[in-house]
Symmetry: C2
């Protein structure tokens, strides 16, 4: 186990009916609020009206930034920053999934910053101040509701980049699983792939002697695997929705499940390059890339892949070589993603080989990526080729 | 899963050498500090001198409260409160195990309170203000380093009671596993029993549909079981000490592993009555009581005990009745505690039946205890009789 610091002050308010406390919690922190949300789903579900009623009753003044994109765009973030400055906003309330929350975080960091907010995403500047923010989560996926990370797309330059700071941890996040009843089938699938992928990035590591962290990772993977199909078969299955939601948060809340463990994050880097160009759903891209990353890197520490096959998928390893056991676990991953309805190949998104070179190049723009196996441009290209 | 709130702002600074940052972290929060510690072990290990040197270098003024008892006493807490008031202390630094930290918390709550600090332990008053505190942990056991709970003994009245508030969460806790190299063998044993017992209190629950929480509990139990003997055989086994230390914190950091799960805590209540009268080590008392509590209550939800036998102890349940499987898991617990050197019977502490009635009565002083099975006075007495 490596040395680590862990600090996560986000307050979680979890459970059925907690979305009735949006006004109450917001009023504890803000008087003039920017309400950030995405498309029309919070309007059609009635959540928008409920939130506004509560905020008004709590005496909070509300300005709005609607239309956050699934891969939130820098231009939208900048509009939010201007709005906050013009209106004297003192708190940001994000209602939505990871994209909406990420946009809200980028706005929170940008408001007090004199330069271009994109500086934070290109390692030109560090976040040293931010508006406080709160969230109401409507999709189990990114964990953004309990960490300080944000990912934004610069559509003009076809770049998708991350930034982060403890200052961007939401002060509160309201997690009402009922709000996810209306999440479309494919978003439930992609969200679940995203959760599992976050765990993979932390689980496949070369750091020795981390038994608790490994088991925590396996706990989340097993729970997601057990619950996705329950939620797909019956979208109003409260317990399945609640379990997925809490798994999503636990999978990426400041690295709790992987403290002292060197993480990888190469697959996310590769996927970001795909969706930066093709604007495909993040979870869809991950479902394509991850099993191929696994195939490409598994020999680096095959015992971890054997453990994964055994403990997560219950694969009997007796009589199998390590290689056979490892590949069986990878195959089980691929089959599970396919069974729940995620894409298996880039071709399923209509993506061919013409931009492979560029994606590989961009993925290593700041140097090789990953740590389980350090990937140079050719490695990334090879994984993308496996994914075609 | 039940609704829940989770909020744990304690910052963890974990790893080899982190005890070199005591001065630096303390100076961020306090100018005039009360240093709280126990017996001579931090002096003989050199930690005391190192801490004082660091605090002086950091420009912190230090007052001391030494001699915190293993079951910290109200009289000592009151001395600490007076000292803080007289010296204008603005921060409390606890260096030690759970008892030292618990005493520091009680002092932190008592300083700004006009009444008797014991009021907080008898439900006469609620903690509404507290001095901030930090900790340097020297024993893997109670989890007090990352929660807001404290347990204090009123020796005159032979009462041991708990109190708690989010205000008592340490602002930082330094966890350097190297500091636990010198922990005596029996304290390593009792600390490990304590960690496992904390998990039991959260794992044996009637709350349905909590798969992630159950897996997290099992993860900690398995990791403790794998590491205790490594640490006993080789007290300077860094990884074993690190794993035990992190398990201790994760087992009781504000209920993270059991959010949305109704906890039990009856066994702790029973043990508190034993050690209130006989001043035995908390972990020793728990090692005696818990397997007997398990025997007494397991029929309430036998499937949880079967799952425990299977997942934690790897007991093959095929061909066994549920009752046989459950009892095999309980037996494995008993045997493990005995194998690592914990006591199995009250008689091992020289405790007979003469105070059983009184202990049973005190345990239910504020009403029946537990939730897995709600225990009245006669139930408590029966468990104590099984423990003789």
């Amino acid at each position: 186990m490596n040395n680590f610091q862990f600090h996560n002050p986000t307050r979680i308010i979890f459970g059925k009916g907690t979305s009735d406390s949006i006004g109450e919690w917001t009023a504890k922190y803000g008087k003039t609020v920017l309400l950030v949300y995405g498309g029309g789903s919070i309007k059609s579900s009635g959540l928008y009206d409920r939130a506004l009623t509560q905020l008004e009753a709590a005496g909070v003044k509300v300005h709005e930034l609607a239309g956050i994109e699934p891969n939130p765009r820098l231009t939208t973030v900048k509009r939010g920053i201007e709005l906050c400055r013009a209106q004297g906003v003192d708190f940001i309330l994000a209602i939505g999934g990871g994209s909406v929350i990420d946009a809200a975080k980028a706005i929170a960091a940008g408001v007090p910053y004199k330069g271009d907010v994109w500086d934070f995403f290109t390692n030109q500047a560090r976040i040293q101040e931010a508006l406080p923010l709160g969230t109401v989560l409507t999709l189990a996926a990114t964990g953004s509701e309990m960490n300080g990370n944000t990912v934004v797309s610069n559509w003009e330059e076809k770049l998708k980049r991350g930034a982060g700071s403890p200052l961007l941890n939401p002060v509160f996040s309201i997690l009402d699983p009922v709000l996810t009843y209306s999440v479309p089938r494919n978003q439930t699938v992609y969200g679940s792939v995203d959760i599992m992928s976050h765990v993979f990035e932390q689980y496949f590591s070369l750091t020795p002697d981390t038994p608790l962290q490994e088991r925590l990772c396996e706990s989340i993977l097993q729970t997601v695997i057990e619950n996705v199909e329950l939620a797909l078969d019956n979208p109003e299955h409260y317990e399945a929705r609640a379990n997925l939601m809490w798994c999503g948060t636990m999978a990426l809340n400041g690295g709790l499940i992987s403290v002292g463990v060197r993480n990888d994050w190469a697959s996310h880097g590769i996927e970001h390059e795909i969706s930066a160009i093709y604007d495909i759903p993040h979870g869809g891209g991950l479902a394509v890339v991850f099993p191929n990353w696994m195939k490409y890197v598994h020999k680096e520490r095959i015992d971890r892949f054997v453990q994964y096959a055994e403990r997560v998928w219950g694969i009997k390893t007796e009589g199998k070589s390590q290689e056979e056991a490892a590949l069986a676990g990878i195959q089980a991953t691929r089959e599970f993603f396919t069974r729940i309805g995620a894409e298996a190949r880039l071709a399923d998104f209509g993506i061919g080989s013409d931009q492979l070179e560029r994606m590989a190049e961009e993925a290593v723009r700041y140097g090789p990526i990953g740590s389980f196996k350090v990937l140079a441009k050719d490695d990334v290209k090879a994984i993308l080729e496996l994914s075609l």
